[in-house]
Symmetry: C2
Subunit: 505 residues, 2 copies
């Protein structure tokens, strides 16, 4: 069972409308992410220039229409209204509305990944296996999409990039050439401010450099594979024995801070996965427990009814009849209270799930972090391969040059050498860009996590307080009806979880 | 999972001794049933003569000794100390101590059933399949045995009977002839006060009248079987067609009050079984939920540790290091609070189970009620059979008497007729006794149930109040540590479960 399931509205008991309003409303805006409501503002990095500028996005009014682009007649598609308000200068209009379908979000994600390599791109909502047009599904998806866009908008760099701006403002994406071009070839250098040394950027080399996910140049692929094998320590160790050429790569990952961060993020993800699975277990059991309280309450009501019939049979004015009626009444009160507590508990479960979302959010960005790390490794590998290849070509050329009969061959090799060097330069630039971006991204990720986890723990405890308060008041009411004195109740004093209470692991 | 399992002490987290004391102690003496503690006093019927007199019993000091009575060398047996304090005149000593083993309790139960037919005998603790001498098992059994004896002692009639008195006071049961005789033959009339017409009680008839559970007189058995078949309405309906003789039985169960009570008890048992299974589900899930909260807390502590290491690495005086330490600290507080809440919740689970015991107790006496109803039916069937048989014999005798050659046969038949009549008279007396006893027993059972259920609901809600209070105080403390203001908390007002809230089934 996922958090999402637990966030679904609990089924109502016996169609009662008593508690149509949510029972617990913590002071903070938990649940403010709802369609059309105020948006959650994510923590911006504090190192950018445009952070004073606001960028708020709402996803609303899902509309199901016939899909005119599909060959299949009768296929239906949902369009969402995207409303953007911003003070960012590159946006011509300060408020703009566009309509987008899910396919457009997939395209946005592809463009973000292509143009912003090295940044940790927020994960977009998953595609569904079953195409769903159910009301609940669409409402839930609108919330997810709004959350997604605002996460991008809260990223100090991504918010200023072309993909987001065009997505939010262009009325007809299909007709946007800029939008179309973004995935054609390598466009990592679109945001020039990120390039420390843009004058050095070489012209596009004659060998096609494919961006990740596009058809590869297989020649380079095999060269890189060989490089990978060469770098493997095991192969290096036995390389001499096997007669393999094992040159030491010319450039190594020597960014110690990066290696530490990488290691820390992996360990953290590992630990948070464990925490997430325990949280899911906790929520599942809280939900089941709440249901069990409700079921017990219903049994009390059923029993009360039997007693009531018995009381009626014995007669209102007989001693036994009266006793029976009183007993029935008490049982019914116990039943009603149990059912109310059950509802409070189920509301608390949904809100607890919501309060723990940052845990989930952090884990969901991890694939993006891993992809970014692998992009970095790939750039480095390409750089290493090209340098080794250039050495090899230079040696070949030096060997063949004295031989005039090989002049044509030498010319060809020189052209190949140029291409190899150009590719190497490009990889070097890529690597540098990713390295710089990583330096700020890892810091930003951790800063954001710390702040969000603080908010999470505060929200979590507030939800528990509200739940306990509500339950307490229900049970006290019941106990007093049964003859307990209000004087029994002590005023709860908050207990500090001081150092003395520390639990040893 | 049974209530008993849930009452077992919860395993301690991380060997912590923080909460060696139970966390929730409701105002009433829930759990006062402990060995050596004060005993729970059950509700006495208010119609008896001896109800002013006290009879309190404690079971304590279980001692494991070699079983000298067993052929098997090395077999060990547990003896329990039974302390009785009473003001009942038939007890010579006002305080007396005896030692009993489980086998003696089984014998007591057999004697109570034999001598007090028609009464609802409290159920004795079950035998165990595995012979257990574990400390936990013995302590638990001592509690059960004490509970059992006090339930008998609280019954207005059983408390005055010989079986209980001899059991509680005779130093050596094996040497008591009275004790031995109690199971030999029918001894239902031992308490003369219960017999409305004791002068009519006939002498023991020559045909052995077996008490239930003893070898039967098979002649009577088959006659009764025939009577049962005859009474079956289906057979009655087609009897004429098949040429069967279907005389209407001379005595029918016409006690309308009894039939109503019987029906009510059956329906109530049915409903309470459902409630009991929901209660068990509730307790099981509450226990699991509590454990899940604890597990989540442990994950928080583990994560806090990772963060702390990170903070140490970054250094105490760096901004990042400080932030990291703060985050670790918050996470640890959340973990500690979760673990404490988990303990509170598990204590609450055990106490909830205890508070719901009357539900269980009521269901446990049901086999006794059913047995008693079947005793009544059996007496009635015997009476009907004997009356029909007497008619048949009389007709036979009337037919044979004119024939002098059959004089010997007629004499034999007359002897058989006498025996049949005597058995019938005995059955009539039995039936009358059971009928009278039932009249008071059903009333007593219901009165006791109503009172115990009232106490149960009060205890139940008190336990929930205490649990919610404790949790509330823990969560408030945590939220305040995270920056929530104490002003946020509303003072819980007890909510009345008024009529307006009634839930439709």
């Amino acid at each position: 069972m996922s958090y999402g399931d637990l966030l679904a509205p609990p089924p109502s008991y016996a169609d009662s409308v008593m508690y149509a309003q949510p029972e617990i409303q913590p002071a903070r805006d938990v649940g403010a992410n709802a369609v059309g409501g105020t948006t959650t503002v994510y923590l911006d990095g504090d190192d950018g220039a445009g952070d004073e500028e606001t960028l708020q996005i709402w996803v609303s009014d899902p509309k199901i229409e016939a899909d005119t682009s599909a060959a299949l007649v009768g296929k239906r598609v949902t369009h969402y209204k995207i409303t953007t308000r911003t003070t960012i200068p590159s946006y011509i209009h300060k408020e703009v509305v566009v309509w987008r379908r899910f396919r457009d979000f997939v395209a946005l994600d592809a463009r973000l990944s292509a143009l912003h390599r090295g940044y940790f791109i927020p994960p977009r909502p998953e595609k569904t296996v079953v195409s769903s047009t159910g009301d609940n599904f669409i409402a839930e998806r609108a919330i997810q999409l709004q959350h997604y866009l605002n996460r991008i908008a809260s990223h100090s760099k991504l918010r200023l990039g072309d993909p987001l701006r065009i997505f939010l403002t262009h009325q007809d994406l299909a007709s946007s050439l800029d939008w179309f071009n973004m995935t054609a070839g390598r466009v990592i250098t679109t945001i020039p401010s990120d390039l420390p040394s843009s004058p050095e950027t070489p012209q596009r080399p004659p060998i096609a450099v494919a961006s990740p996910g596009q058809p590869r140049d297989f020649g380079r692929f095999f060269k890189e594979l060989r490089q990978t094998v060469v770098q493997s320590t095991a192969v290096s160790a036995v390389g001499g024995v096997l007669g393999l050429d094992t040159p030491k790569p010319k450039v190594m990952e020597e960014d110690a801070a990066f290696l530490v961060e990488k290691d820390r993020v992996v360990r953290m993800e590992n630990e948070l996965s464990g925490m997430s699975s325990k949280a899911t277990k906790l929520l599942t059991l809280q939900q089941k427990f709440g249901e069990a309280v409700g079921e017990f309450g219903l049994e009390c009501l059923k029993f009360a009814k039997i007693q009531e019939e018995e009381g009626t049979r014995l007669g209102k004015y007989s001693e036994n009849g009266l006793e029976c009626m009183t007993a029935a009444n008490e049982m019914r009160k116990a039943g009603n209270t149990s059912i109310k507590v059950s509802r409070v508990s189920r509301a608390a479960t949904a809100q607890t799930a919501q309060s723990l979302e940052p845990l989930h959010d952090y884990l969901k960005i991890m694939p993006s972090v891993r992809r970014s790390i692998s992009d970095r490794n790939e750039s480095l590998l390409t750089l290493q391969t090209m340098l080794a290849e250039a050495d090899r070509l230079e040696a070949r050329i030096a060997k063949l040059t004295p031989d005039f009969t090989k002049m044509k061959k030498v010319e060809d090799l020189k052209l190949e050498l140029d291409a190899t060097r150009a590719t190497g330069e490009q990889a070097k630039v890529d690597y540098k860009i990713i390295q710089d971006r990583h330096r700020e991204e890892f810091a930003r990720l951790e800063k954001e996590r710390v702040a969000q986890f603080h908010a999470m723990l505060l929200n979590y405890s507030r939800v528990q307080v509200a739940n306990a308060e509500r339950s307490l008041s229900l049970w006290r009411g019941l106990a007093e009806e049964f003859g307990a004195s209000a004087d029994e109740w002590r005023t709860p004093e908050p207990e500090k979880s001081g150092e003395a209470d520390e639990t040893t692991l």
